[in-house]
């Protein structure tokens, strides 16, 4: 007999410029594991953040056990038994596990004896299959262990509804299996789990029902028995047709190899290999698009190319020059432009003006800055790319996100003479500007023989811009296709395999 545990009714959430959730309704029954699937930006995280009280909905209602609730803070959520675990652990490194847990649990107070907490923590860790002494300092733990501690903390908070936002994404297979076994037992006691994941097979394996979101709307909810990987993939990505490219791009591809990567291994932030044995090459005037879900190793691959992340094994050559583990300044001086994954953190200094951000790049100025020349360059970029700014001497933190992106793209595209390395090059741009940027990239490739390697979560963009499509999954290149031979189905299948 199915009892409604959480009911979300017609929830709408707007952010400046976007409609994150558009009248979303879905139901979680008591004792079920409910998977939320969808492309990036589909609204999954927004939805669980609303349930956890981080955001409040603009419209719509949330019911728990049939009672209407207004959740305004995580504290409220916890009081109603809802706990969120995300993909980044939030533990304090210098403290022990027990100390961390005492800090976050409200039913412990200043006078609680650590020994009592110790035994409670110990038994929860035990039930998760973790043989760690709760008095261990957190910095000694691996990422996986930290993540399990986060889940243990949620259980100690007496979670009745566990929200896992990509919490399992980076867990190794064996740990994941253990956790899934635990979750199955956990829901049998009348609790529920909402699981967000990118991995389709994972969702199909563990969940009882799957709800798919696309562009802020619920596409549908399917029972696992009736679900099938192709049906769900279609629900996630839609059957958007991509228009065949009018310009014959192929003709511009030369014979020389601009970027050559062989057997590359690169570690990620957490010390795990994020790029595994990647071999790729980009010819002169070729655009290589890397399709893959977020976190498949694209960022680490690009940072390694740019000399920003250490190459553990393998070789990178740019135009025949070995650039493996070379200084970024040197790699840049070969004529390599770069659009990083987090433009505001890594691409631009938002406290400084547009002119200053341009002058910072070695190509635009020598040691002594010729402000006159910089101003001319800046004015030209503003004109050509339609950057909306009060003046080139305004701190760019006052610019909108789209204009910041335009500024970064214009600077880097001008900078690149041989190779452009770009992560999500049109993120945050409106349709018109995005098209213009793609056209600029293609023009530069056709006229000047620029080679491009880019990654995008948007398959339409991958198909529109690339000559060659490589699919990256869990750090490996799992398929390389000529654009005209690639099919969307096959690429999607490899992405979520």
């Amino acid at each position: 007999m199915l009892v409604e545990h959480i009911v979300v009714k017609e929830v709408t959430k707007r952010f400046p410029g976007t409609l994150a959730l558009d009248k979303v309704s879905f139901t979680v029954y008591r004792g079920e594991i409910h998977a939320l699937l969808g492309e990036n930006g589909a609204g999954k995280s927004t939805l669980v953040k609303i349930l956890y009280g981080i955001y409040t909905p603009d419209e719509g209602e949330v019911y728990i056990n049939g009672k209407k609730l207004v959740i305004t803070s995580p504290r409220d959520a916890v009081a109603h038994g809802i706990v969120l675990v995300s993909q980044t652990p939030t533990l304090i490194n210098d403290l022990t596990i027990v100390e961390n847990i005492i800090l976050s649990l409200r039913h412990y107070n200043l006078f609680t004896r650590t020994r009592r907490v110790y035994s409670e923590v110990y038994s929860v860790l035990e039930s998760l299959g973790l043989g760690i002494d709760p008095n261990t300092e957190v910095y000694k733990l691996t990422y996986t262990q930290k993540q399990m501690i986060e889940i243990a903390r949620a259980l100690l908070l007496k979670a009745k509804v566990l929200l896992l936002d990509e919490a399992t994404s980076y867990l190794p297979l064996t740990e994941k299996k253990k956790l899934f076994d635990f979750l199955k037992k956990y829901v049998k006691k009348g609790n529920s789990v909402i699981l967000i994941t990118h991995k389709l097979p994972e969702a199909l394996e563990i969940s009882d029902r799957i709800t798919v979101l696309r562009k802020g709307k619920v596409v549908g909810t399917v029972e696992k028995k009736k679900a099938d990987i192709t049906v769900i993939r279609r629900m996630m990505f839609g059957d958007t047709e991509f228009a065949p490219e009018a310009i014959k791009q192929r003709e511009s591809i030369g014979n020389g190899v601009t970027l050559f990567i062989e057997n590359l291994w690169v570690k990620g932030e957490l010390g795990e290999y994020m790029v595994r044995n990647v071999t790729l090459s980009v010819r002169k005037g070729e655009i290589l698009g890397i399709a893959g879900i977020t976190g498949s190793g694209q960022i680490e691959l690009f940072e390694a190319i740019m000399g920003l992340r250490k190459v553990e094994r393998g070789i990178i050559k740019i135009d025949g020059v070995d650039t493996t583990n070379k200084d970024t300044g040197f790699i840049r001086s070969l004529g390599v432009g770069y659009i990083p994954d987090n433009p505001l953190e890594h691409g631009l200094s938002i406290d400084h003006t547009l002119a200053e951000n341009i002058a910072l790049c070695p190509k635009y100025s020598s040691f002594i800055i010729d402000w006159h020349a910089i101003r001319q360059d800046a004015d030209r970029l503003v004109r050509e790319y339609g950057i909306v700014t009060p003046s080139i001497n305004t701190p760019i933190k006052l610019l909108s996100g789209g204009n910041l992106m335009k500024m970064l793209i214009s600077r880097e595209l001008e900078y690149a003479t041989k190779l452009l390395v770009a992560y999500n090059p049109t993120r945050g741009l409106d349709e018109y500007t995005a098209n213009k940027v793609r056209r600029n990239i293609k023009e530069k490739k056709a006229k000047e023989g620029l080679s491009v390697i880019f990654a995008s979560e948007d398959l339409d963009e991958i198909f529109e811009l690339s000559d060659t499509i490589a699919v990256m999954n869990s750090g490996r290149i799992v398929g390389v296709f000529d654009k005209y031979r690639a099919t969307r189905d096959r690429v999607e299948e490899l992405m979520v395999m």
Binding site: D327, E356, W371
Partner: protein
């Protein structure tokens, strides 16, 4: 049950940047005056103290020396602060410049040769001060070792090196006082009559201000130092090595402070007296206050330096008036810096008291 909670809220628009320095000066002087009055059980007359400060402010000719030296040190420290590198080692760099200049003046054989002796004192002094800063800069830049304790403790190493040199090889031979012989008069800076300043010092102050202004506004190094302070990631991505920027900012900072050291020796002290840790004019520390109060803007450094040097002179006035020792100004300087550090937070944040029932 009612519960009261304090909530810190970020201001939509930060307060104007001059609010914090102005508030800290007025409030700092007021608080310190009251504080002195209380701890001395009413023996320091607040009126005498305030009058001393007022008189000091109105006599620029008497504070010219400290004003110029503090401007140079303040500008020097500002270069490192801009990069979020906190050079607390001004004292050590100051004394290393003095060691070099003293050697040139007394023992190199050029001390009595006009024109080149002053230039050599400056050049070698600046280089040695820069070297002293480099020792802290390399581990900070390449290993990320916190520069604050390193530069701070290196001040004491510098003091003790000075003490050793002056107590042993450089000791004045005639009466064996714990000090060096006086440097030859040819190497003295030329006093401006009726003031405490020297011609060379004023020139150097102008050159330092103009030079650092140019560096910070018209060179890629200056821009990179600025960007280093707000977002070092960007430097890496555009291909500038942040480690080198950190090292450069700290070394330049030390070199500029070194100019003040040489000027102090050639314009004022003319010899080194030990123990250095007790005889120091403390400009390396006071300069930190000047740099902070200027809100890290080059044009405001002289303003802050003027007020702080007036406070130093006020201390002398207070001593003459018999209301306390000259070192009471340390209370003023400390209180001002403390209030500034606190109030600067509230230009960006406000505190709200919320009573829940």
């Amino acid at each position: 049950m009612a519960s009261i909670s304090l909530v810190v809220v970020k201001r939509v628009k930060p307060l104007p940047s001059w609010v914090a320095p102005l508030l800290s000066f007025t409030l700092g002087i007021a608080v310190a005056t009251v504080l002195l009055w209380i701890v001395t059980l009413g023996r320091t007359d607040p009126i005498v103290v305030l009058a001393s400060i007022g008189r000091a402010l109105a006599m620029p000719q008497l504070l010219l020396k400290n004003f110029a030296l503090l401007t140079i040190v303040g500008i020097g420290l500002l270069v490192s602060f801009k990069a979020s590198v906190f050079n607390i080692g001004g004292e050590g760099q100051f004394y290393f410049a003095i060691i070099a200049a003293t050697w040139i003046a007394l023992f190199s054989g050029v001390g009595a040769i006009a024109i080149i002796n002053k230039v050599l004192m400056l050049v070698v002094g600046v280089l040695l001060a820069g070297f002293w800063a480099l020792i802290a800069a390399l581990p900070r830049g390449f290993l990320g070792i916190d520069e604050v304790p390193v530069t701070l403790l290196m001040n004491y190493i510098a003091y003790y090196i000075v003490d050793y040199l002056v107590f042993n090889p450089w000791r004045e031979p005639k009466y064996k006082y714990p000090r060096t012989p006086t440097i030859p008069e040819e190497s003295w800076f030329i006093r401006i009559p009726g003031t405490t300043g020297t011609i060379e010092l004023i020139l150097l102050t102008v050159v330092v201000m103009a030079g650092i202004w140019y560096l910070m506004n018209n060179t890629r190094l200056g821009l990179a130092i600025n960007v280093m302070g707000s977002n070092p990631n960007v430097l890496r991505v555009v291909g500038i090595n942040p480690s080198l920027i950190v090292v450069s900012s700290l070394v330049i900072s030390g070199m500029i402070v070194g100019i003040a050291g040489v000027s102090y020796l050639a314009g004022e002290a003319h010899l080194i007296t030990i123990p250095a840790e007790a005889c120091t004019p403390m400009l390396g520390y006071t300069g930190i206050l000047v740099a902070w109060l200027s809100m890290l803007r080059i044009a405001y450094v002289p303003v802050a330096a003027y007020i702080v040097s007036a406070l130093i002179n006020a201390g002398i006035n207070i001593q003459i008036a018999g209301a306390g020792k000259a070192s009471v100004v340390d209370v003023f300087i400390g209180t001002i810096l403390l209030i500034y550090s606190i109030s600067v937070i509230f230009t960006e944040y406000s505190v709200k008291i919320i009573v829940k029932r």
